[in-house]
Amino acid sequence: MPEQRFDAQVRQEGSVATMDLSGEINRGADDRMTSAYDDVAKTGAATILLNFTRVGYINSTGIAVIVAMLGRARNDGRQVSAYGLTDHYKHLFDITRLSDFMNIYDDESTALAGVGAGA
C-alpha cells in the first residue's frame, strides 16, 4: 500500500488551535509537525487540539514525533488534547502512556467543550 504523505493544517478558534493531521505519522512527519507547531506558537493559543480523524497509520517513530511535540508544548505551557482516534490508536496511546498527558475525546465538538473553547 503506498504511503500516505503526512500533513498538518492549523486552524484557530479563540484560545484553541486545532491541528488537523492527515496521512501517516512516521519519521517523515517530523518536519511538518514541527512547522505546524511553530504556526500554533505564532497564534499564542493556550490549547492544542490534535485531530487524528484522517490519520491512517502511526508507527513508533511517529509516536516519538508526537511526544516531541508534546514536550515542546509543555515547555511553552500549552495544554494538548486529542480527538478522532480509533480504538486501536487509543489502545496505542495507552501502551505508550501518552494518554496520561492528554485528554482524549471522541469528536471535535466534545473536545472543544472539554477544553472550554465555548466559554
Binding site: V10, Q12, D20, S22, A64, I95, T96, D100
Partner: protein, 274 residues
C-alpha cells in the same frame, strides 16, 4: 487574538468526520505493537542474571521522566549494496544483545525480538555494581525496533533502533527520546550522557562490523526538546534501579549466609545465585 487560520484551512475540503474516517485508508499495524499490560512480567530469567527492578513495574514514556527532555540521534552509513534497511533491522532484531558493548547483557525471552517481549538488562555501572533494569519491546516492524523503559530506569525513554535508505547508503540509526528518570539520575546526567554516547556509538560500530563494514564514522546530534523539569516525577526516586542494585550488592553476604536455611526450608528450591 486573531481567529484567522494560520495555514490554509482544510474546512472547505473537509467533509463530515464519518466521511473522513471512511476516506482515510488505514494500514493494519496491530501486530507491530505490544499489547497493553498494566505492569511488566519477565519470563525465562537466565541463571546468573540479576533480576531486579522489572517484574511488576509500569513502563515510563519520556513524558513520565523527571529531567529535561532530549532527543539524540546516532547514525552510521553502510552501502546499501551490502545491506538494505530491512536486512539491517532483521539481523539486528535476531541478535540484538550480540551488538552491545562487552560486559553488558540484554536477556530477552526469545531470540527474535517481538512486540510485548520484556527483556532483562544487566549493565556495567559503578565499580562492582551491575545495574539491573529492563525494557519492553514496544514496537517492531521491518525498519525499526522501539524499546520502552520501566519506571526506575535511569532514563524514561523510547529508544528506536532503525534503518532507512539515503541514496546509495543505508543509514543505521539509534534514536533515544528521553528524560532522566528521577532527580538522582538527573544529577548524574553529564556522566550518564557520555556513557550513553559511548555505548550507542560502540553498538552501531558493532552492527556495521557485522555487515563487514569496519571503521565507520558515528555521527551524533542532540536536541533539547523540553528544558523544564517534570517535578511530578520526583517520586520516581523510590523505584531508582541504581540504588536498588547497590543495595542488592551490599546485601550479597547476607544472602549467602541465609541461603542454606532457605534450602532447608524448601528442599525443592533451585536457589540460583542471583
Amino acid at each position: 487574538m486573531s481567529d484567522q487560520p494560520t495555514t490554509p484551512s482544510p474546512a472547505e475540503a473537509t467533509p463530515e468526520p464519518e466521511q473522513l474516517e471512511a476516506a482515510a485508508v488505514r494500514r493494519s499495524d496491530a501486530g507491530n505493537w505490544a499489547k497493553v499490560s498494566p505492569t511488566l512480567h519477565l519470563e525465562n530469567v537466565p541463571e546468573g542474571a540479576i533480576n531486579l527492578n522489572v517484574e511488576g513495574r509500569r513502563t515510563a514514556s519520556p513524558m513520565q521522566g523527571f529531567g529535561k527532555m532530549w532527543q539524540k540521534t546516532y547514525s552510521v552509513r553502510i552501502p546499501s549494496s551490502i545491506a538494505s534497511p530491512t536486512d539491517v533491522v532483521t539481523q539486528w532484531r535476531a541478535a540484538f544483545s550480540s551488538f552491545w558493548p562487552p560486559g553488558n547483557f540484554f536477556y530477552s525471552p526469545f531470540t527474535d525480538l517481538s512486540p510485548g517481549d520484556v527483556a532483562l538488562l544487566n549493565l556495567k555501572a559503578v565499580g562492582r555494581v551491575k545495574l539491573s533494569t529492563g525494557m519492553l519491546v514496544m514496537y517492531v516492524d521491518d525498519e525499526a525496533i522501539t524499546l520502552m523503559t520501566p519506571v526506575g530506569h535511569f532514563f524514561a525513554a523510547f529508544n528506536t533502533f532503525g534503518a532507512h535508505s539515503d541514496g546509495d547508503d543505508t543509514i543505521v540509526q539509534i534514536q533515544p527520546l528521553f528524560r532522566s528518570g528521577d532527580p538522582i539520575y538527573e544529577m548524574g546526567m553529564p556522566i550518564m550522557s557520555r556513557m550513553e554516547d559511548r555505548f550507542w556509538a560502540q553498538t552501531l560500530r558493532n552492527v556495521a562490523a557485522h555487515f563487514g563494514v569496519e571503521d565507520v564514522e558515528v555521527t551524533q546530534t542532540k536536541v533539547c526538546i523540553d528544558k523544564k523539569r517534570n517535578w511530578a516525577a520526583v517520586k520516581n526516586v523510590r523505584h531508582n534501579s541504581l540504588i536498588r542494585s547497590i543495595l542488592y550488592l551490599v546485601a550479597t553476604p547476607f544472602r549467602w549466609i541465609a541461603r542454606p536455611f532457605k534450602k532447608d526450608a524448601d528442599p525443592d528450591a533451585q536457589a540460583p545465585d542471583r
